[in-house]
Amino acid sequence: MKGKIQFYFKNKKRSYSFTLNRNITIINDFSGTGKSSFIRDLQNGLLDVKGRRHILKSDGYRVKILNDSNWDSIYDGQHAYTDTIFFIDEQNPFLVTQKFAKFVTNTGAYFVIITRAHLSQLSYSVEEIYEFDYDEDKNLYTLKPKYDLLCNDIKSKYYLGYKSNVLPTLIMTEDSGSGFDFFKCLGIDCIGAGGNSKIYGKVKENLDKNLFVVGDGAAFGAYINDLVRLQGHDIRLFLPESFEYMVLKSGIYYDKNLDDVLRNTWKYVEYKEYSSWERYFTKYLIDISSDTVIPYKKSGFRKGFLQKGNIEKILDSNDLSFLNIAGELQASSDESEITSSKSIAKMNII
C-alpha cells in the first residue's frame, strides 16, 4: 500500500476523522480521552454488516481490528491482508514482538496503533505520533501531533531546545555513516551513538555537554519520548526525515521529480518495499546520484563530496547555518574522484 488515506467513521453519537499519512500511525494520549471507546465504536461499526447505522470511509481499503484473539490466524494468512488498515488497541502483547514487525513489513499494510510502549522494533516517524482532539460541539474526534515541531518553518525539525542560539559543544549522530562524516566536518566535537538503541547511553554519558542530537525523524518515533523527557537539560533534538533527506534538499543532486518527492513523499513510498521514508530517501538518493561524479554512499561520503560549498549548501537548506563557524569547516580539498568522464549534468557540484 502507499499514499495518504482519509479515514472517517461515524455512529449515532460520535464521529472520527483523520488522515493516515504513512503506514504506521500511533495514538499515544492521556487516559480517559476516548481511545478505547474509539476501538469499541469501530468494532460495533464493523459488525454492522449492512452499514445502515454507521458510516465508514477508508478510501476503499479494508478495515480490521487486530487483537490477541485473532492475531495468530491473521499472521498465518497475512498474504490476504496487504490492502488493509489494521486498528490495534493497547495491551496486546504481540505488539512488542519481532513477529509483529515482520508482519508490518511483509504485508505493507497500514496500522493505527494505540500504545505508549516504544515499539522500537518498528520504524515509525515522530510526526505520526498523535493525541486525540475532541470537538464537543460536533462530537468529532480528530488527531493532533503529540510532539510539536518547535518551529513552524518547514526547514526546521527541532523537537527540543530550538530557541537556544548557543553553539553546541558536542554533536551526536545516530551512527557513524555519511551523516557522521558530514557533521564531523563542522569543527565541533562529534560522536556517533552506534545506533538508535545506544543513543540513550551516549546521551546520559554526555549530559554535561551542550548536546546537539541528530536523528532520522522518519524512523525515530520509538525514541523521542525518553529524550523529550530530558527537557531542561542542555539538549537540542534535531530530527529531519533523514540525513539523505537533508542532502536531497540541498539541491546538490538533481532529478526532475526531486521537488515533488520532497514535498509529497507519501505518493512514492510503497511500504512493502520500504519500511520507512528514511529507507526510501536513501534508495532515491543512491539512484539519482548513481551516474554522477560522486555517487552517494550511506556508509560514508566518497572523497571530494565534502567540499566547503557542498557543506554550506546542506547547512543552509536545512536551517543549520548557525553551525557554520567561520574558519572552522574541515572541508575536503581532495578532488581525486571528480575526474571521471561521468556526467556532472545531474549534480550542482561545488
Partner: protein, 165 residues
Amino acid sequence: MLKIIYGILDTDEDFIYNGDVFFNDEREEEWLSNELVKQMILDIDKSEVLDNNLIKSPVLGLIPPEYLSGGVKTLISILYNPELLFNATGCGENCSKWLLKIADELDEDVIINLQYNMKFPEGPFQIKVMNTDTIITNDRDLALEALGLSDKYVNYYDGVISYEG
C-alpha cells in the same frame, strides 16, 4: 512505596498484563463506593460515580464501569490488589499522581511494570526503580534514571532483576 520495573517483563510473580481486562473480570461491587476511586474517576475520566454499577460520563452518557478508561480501571485494580504486579503501561501520565497516592494509602509496597518513561509530578516523592535498585525523589532524576529502560527485555524471578542477552 511505589516500585517500578521498566521494560518488557517476564516474571514468576502474579503478573497482570492487562489491567482493563482484570477489572472487567474481577471487579467487586464495593470498589466504586471508595472515595479515592471516585476522585480518580472524576479526575481522569471526568465522570461521576452514581452508584456501584453506574457512571455518568460527559461524552458517553450513562455507562457501566466496564466502559471506564483502561487507565483508571488499572489504578482501581492496583488499589484493591496491591499484592499483584500490574502492567501499568495502559495508564497515561495523568494517572501518575494517583499511582503515588495509592502507594501512600496502602501499608505495603506497590510494584508496577512500565513499558514507557512515564512523567510523574515534580516531587518530592519516593519511587524505587527496581532495574537500578535506586530510590528517586523527583521527576527530573526519574526521567534520567529510566532513560532507555522501557523497551529492554527484563526478567524478574525470585525477586531478582536480570536482563536477556
